[in-house]
């Protein structure tokens, strides 16, 4: 039995699995597609008002730091798994790493390269502030050199020789005893629901946009004119509980309520309305929070079908207020579409490579609801939202559980 494990995906679940494996004496390879680890949750924001809102986003930075400093974990950034052979206890995993024009080992984030980069916007730039590792990245579409022109300015000025062009993708083979799939989720593309106007009308954001906005700015301003919104609407179940996505994404009602409270806390005069089908309020510590929400937030049962351009750049929502039994129109400054989780587009490829099944809605399938880390292939386990929608604490728990299954296998 090989005493090491490949974890595919460096989001919160994958990172958790890797840490637990490492702490239990195994070696973990964390294969991450992007240049930085952390997945979706790393870009989320704290939603506390005067007290913690239990969104659990603050658990992420610690785990990321622990996993990058753990001697038993090797992180492979900008890497994907392209082939697997063997069986439980003895897998051979083929990993390809994208050419790292900026070496993560050598980049010290000094920023001298940006000063000399001739393009506008700069082709080489700092990653987002929460990126781990904090290494600079090159935008291939902007970079003169990568577009075939002559330019060596950044490479010449780099004090650590971290930049090199002409790299080829690198192939590696890892011999491991088990594989944990932790590839995470994507958010539902709200443009698929044309009538909701996302991407077409101004001041319509998704829940994910809102997370990033708060993480960047700390407060909510209208994207169109920078003013404070006075009337905000949340539309639930966008991309969930419908024909193509016949499941509840589990996180949206809670994040909508947490954001609603946060918006009101920062701007007590704002009116916030949540349009819903069934409010999902179960979960540890949420009952009290929900009671407080009922006092300050307007809940309307009935999800809007259409968002139209209103007067003076505002948004008009057409909806049925089911409790009142009539259709209505109302104008808002800002609309947030609470988009749900959908399987990642690459899942099918990975499923094929690993020989694991996909379930009804494209998430990876499991043996049984009470054994949701196991796949149809011995030795390949699932961690986190790639198996189905989960919030951060459940993803962490699922990641720990996946590690336990691997540990059990490897004895």
């Amino acid at each position: 039995m090989n005493e090491s494990v490949v974890v595919i995906g460096g989001g919160i679940a994958g990172v958790t699995s890797a840490l637990e494996l490492a702490n239990s004496g195994l070696k973990a390879y964390l294969v991450e597609r992007e240049a930085a680890i952390g997945g979706q949750a790393a870009s989320f924001c704290c939603k506390a008002t005067d007290v913690c809102a239990k969104c659990s986003v603050c658990l992420v930075p610690q785990k990321l730091k622990e996993v990058t400093t753990h001697p038993q974990v090797s992180i492979l950034p900008s890497s994907i798994v392209t082939g697997v052979s063997g069986e439980a206890g003895n897998f051979r995993v083929e990993v390809w790493q994208k050419p790292q024009y900026v070496s993560q080992e050598k980049c010290i984030a000094c920023g001298l390269c940006v000063e000399v980069c001739p393009t506008e916007p700069k082709a080489i730039h700092s990653p987002c502030p929460e990126a781990i590792p904090y290494s600079y990245v090159i935008d291939e579409s902007q970079c003169l050199r990568l577009r075939g022109e002559k330019c060596n300015l950044c490479r010449e000025i780099c004090p650590t020789n971290a930049i090199a062009f002409g790299h080829e993708p690198e192939r590696q083979e890892l011999d491991v005893g088990a594989i944990i799939v932790a590839t995470g989720f994507e958010v539902f593309d709200a443009r698929e629901v044309g009538s909701l106007g996302y991407g077409r009308l101004p001041n319509i954001l998704t829940g994910l946009d809102l997370e990033r906005l708060f993480a960047r700015n700390g407060s909510l301003e209208l994207p169109s004119n920078g003013e404070k919104p006075e009337k905000v609407a949340f539309v639930q179940c966008v991309g969930s509980r419908n024909e193509n996505h016949g499941y509840c994404s589990q996180v949206c009602c809670k994040y909508a309520m947490r954001f609603a409270r946060l918006i009101k806390y920062q701007n007590p005069d704002a009116e916030v309305t949540i349009f819903y089908i069934d409010l999902q309020t179960a979960g540890k510590g949420f009952a009290q929070f929900y009671e407080q929400c009922r006092v300050s937030i307007r809940f309307i049962r009935g999800v809007p079908v259409e968002i139209l351009e209103g007067s003076s750049g505002r948004l008009e929502l057409r909806f049925e207020d089911i409790s009142k039994g009539k259709t209505s129109r109302e104008t808002f400054d800002l609309v947030v579409l609470s988009v749900g989780m959908v399987p990642r587009k690459g899942s099918w490829d990975l499923a094929r490579i690993l020989g694991i099944n996909l379930g009804d809605y494209g998430f990876f399938d499991t043996r049984s609801p009470i054994d949701s880390n196991k796949t149809n292939v011995d030795g390949i386990f699932l961690a986190g939202t790639c198996q189905g929608p989960k919030d951060i604490p459940d993803s962490i728990a699922h990641g720990i559980a996946a590690a336990q299954k691997a540990r059990e296998l490897l004895g």
């Binding site: 659990s56 986003v57 000094c110 502030p129 016949g246 009952a287 039994g325 728990a397």
Partner: protein
């Protein structure tokens, strides 16, 4: 032994242009106990580290100060290097002259950089090494509660080679699932599944079962718990390395709302299941069966899942008309939405209400009256049976248990405090876990994950047979200890106990393995008997010394920043190049709870014009009460300042999350404005 410090400056590839490194170097070289000041372009990379190594092996230095980027990025690299060289990593300080200096301010910041480095040097002079030692741990786990979760925990632990003892209050294993049937959501009957699990448990060599037994106390600490067990009239003590609580939940099967006259056809879930098992016993097929949800418990997942399964079963097996009255159907579990669709497709009718339905007896049947909001009409349904919604309550004895264990409960009374740092299954006490229903997770899928998480955590703690700790990193000076019990009461991790070794004097003692290094005890000790190496009073005050110019003539703001929140937010502000006034000096602490009243007062004495104590959001402190204590201490300090004629607004507590760079900057700017006003 004479202190000799080696100072290493890193100019980050020459990019920190607003710091005059030559001037810094010259200034530091003049200090007495500085052996040398080296400047490098890339200290964290291999060349830089090699240079450090050769200096350490060559010169006779016994302390190291590094001025570079944030310790969050580089400290671990230097720690590892020092460990490889056999040099104690506790004798190192890293001054953050990049994210929190060069990147955070416009213009020349040489003076600030110099001060930050001198703060680090002052602290480093007083650092002491800490040994790493091994603490033996007992490779045995106690599982309290022999239901589904308990048995599964024992089996999974056994598969990992860990001995387990399961203590069960009743005379049989199986818990609520055995009593009540219904492994809600699954094809197999719960009893069948449980029977086979029970057989597995019985046949497992690694598992010992004690039925009709209860625990009466858990003393000790992670790796070494001493548990008192009562079995019948016997009372005995056993040692365990970890304890997993799987005590389940208590169901109020017929809550008040459902209690009508005797003989009314309101039945519990269990009774419905019995009917479905043997419908012939009824005689007459029930024409209408009703379910009511959200009348007694608005936030129950289990209620929805049970109702969906039972409604489907009732429709299929009895062919009755089935109605489900609910307010918000909870479908945030795997497969729930699908089950809902299937149930609807089969003809079960769902009626949503805003106001709770009225139930009454009418002609021997149960009449349910509610306003269906979809139809907008008042509906009245007469049921042959109405299935009552259960109310899930914490298991019997939870209050007593949490008091015996000295751990918290959540706002609904279930085990495990709500603080997110404890998720999924931890408690304040390392080595004690809460799993499944007893912590409020009632649906079987989540319960199963809880079980596996706890098993893995216990395994990690115990498998090696020993744990490595920093010996005495936080320790009590037995001679100075006044046995006032303040630290014992205040420790959020219950890591301190009263001991009396070799018939000497009583003293408080901190158990290294249970200690999580917050420093709340060190701050609260009235006799100053607790020493937290790296963050002693002397070390913190030494940092403040480096700030002083003359008292009263200064405009510095000291920010005590918790390493889990504010320090990270400050780093993020630096990365985003959000600028704030350069008179800010950050002192990093493991928790806001380490900050003591005298630290704040001394800050003012040393010339600070304002002090910020910055920690996690309330309710999100990794050490549970650290930020609350910081707030209480700061409130008290404000009174003390007022007494001394100083504006109380010069010290403030700030709560923020690790991503809140904007709030960090805003608070600093506000304080800077405030102190300008004088």
């Amino acid at each position: 032994m004479e202190v000799k410090i080696g100072v290493f400056l890193c100019d980050c590839g020459g990019s920190l242009k607003n710091i005059d490194f030559a001037r810094v170097s010259r200034n530091l070289e003049e200090l007495e106990d500085i052996a040398f000041v080296d400047t490098s372009h890339k200290l964290c990379l291999e060349d830089g580290r090699k240079a450090i190594a050769s200096r350490i092996l060559g010169q006779n230095i016994n302390r190291v100060v590094i001025a570079a980027c944030s310790p969050e990025l580089c400290e671990h690299k230097f720690v590892r290097l020092l460990q490889e060289l056999g040099f104690s990593p506790n004798l190192l300080s890293v001054a953050n002259i990049r994210e929190q200096c060069s990147w955070a301010h416009e213009g020349d910041v040489t003076a600030k950089a110099l001060e930050l480095i001198r703060m680090a040097i002052n602290r480093t002079r007083l650092l002491q090494p800490v040994e790493r030692t091994e603490v033996p741990v007992k490779k045995e786990v106690l599982v309290v509660g022999g239901g589904f979760s308990g048995m599964k925990s024992a089996l999974e632990l056994s598969r990992l080679g860990i001995q387990t003892t399961v203590v069960e209050r009743e005379a049989v294993l199986g818990g609520k699932l055995w009593q009540d049937e219904g492994l809600y959501g699954f094809e197999a009957s719960a009893r069948k599944v449980l029977s086979s699990i029970r057989e597995e448990v019985k046949g497992d060599e690694n598992i010992e079962v004690l039925i009709s037994a209860e625990i009466a106390g858990v003393e000790g600490y992670a790796g070494n718990f001493a548990v008192k067990i009562n079995k019948g009239t016997d009372e005995f003590c056993r040692d365990f390395g970890a304890v997993i609580f799987t005590t389940g939940y208590k169901a109020e099967t017929l809550p008040g709302y459902f209690r009508l006259s005797r003989g009314s056809k309101i039945i519990s879930q269990q009774e419905l299941i019995e009917i479905l098992e043997a419908p012939a016993k009824l005689g007459r097929r029930p024409e209408v069966i009703g379910f009511i949800l959200d009348a007694v418990d608005e936030n129950s997942r289990l209620g929805s899942l049970c109702a969906l399964n039972s409604a489907l079963a009732a429709k299929d097996k009895l062919g009755s008309e089935v109605y489900v009255f609910c307010r918000n159907l909870k479908v945030d579990s795997e497969g729930a939405e699908k089950l809902y669709q299937v149930t609807r497709d089969r003809g079960v009718m769902f009626l949503k209400f805003e106001q709770k339905p009225q139930i009454s007896v009418s002609d021997g049947r149960v009449k349910v009256e509610a306003k269906d909001i979809l139809l907008g009409e008042d509906i009245s349904v007469c049921c042959d049976f109405l299935v009552a919604e259960e109310k899930a309550l914490p298991p019997e004895g939870t209050e007593g248990l949490s008091s015996i264990l000295n751990v918290g409960v959540d706002s609904q009374g279930f085990c495990q405090d709500e603080n997110v740092y404890l998720y999924p299954v931890d408690s304040e006490r390392k080595g004690i876990f809460f799993v499944g229903a007893c912590r409020g997770n009632l649906d079987i899928a989540r319960v199963s994950i809880d079980v596996t998480s706890a098993v893995m955590s216990a395994y990690e703690l115990l498998a090696p047979g020993r744990a490595i700790v920093e010996e005495g990193k936080v320790n009590v000076d037995g001679q100075k200890c006044r046995v006032c019990l303040s630290c014992i009461r205040a420790c959020p991790h219950r890591a301190i106990r009263l001991v009396r070794e070799n018939a000497e004097k009583w003293t408080a003692r901190i158990y290294d393995l249970a200690c999580d290094g917050c420093g709340i005890c060190a701050a609260i000790c009235p006799a100053k008997a607790i020493r937290f190496e790296g963050y002693t009073d002397e070390q913190i005050l030494a940092e403040l010394e480096a700030i002083g110019e003359e008292r009263g003539g200064n405009n510095k703001i000291i920010a005590f920043c918790c390493e889990n929140s504010a320090y990270l937010a400050a780093d993020k502000a630096g990365r985003m190049r959000l600028h704030y006034p350069d008179n800010l000096r950050i002192i990093r602490v493991p928790c806001a709870g380490r900050v003591d009243i005298v630290h704040v007062l001394r800050a003012f004495e040393k010339g600070a014009a304002g002090v910020l104590v910055m920690g996690c959001q309330e309710g999100a402190c990794q050490h549970l009460t650290g930020n609350i204590r910081a707030k209480e201490r700061v409130n008290y300090t404000q009174d003390l300042l007022k007494e001394a004629g100083i504006d109380a607004g010069r010290v403030k507590v700030v709560n923020l999350g690790p991503d809140m760079a904007q709030k960090f900057v805003r608070e600093v700017r506000e304080m800077a404005e405030k102190i300008k006003e004088e």
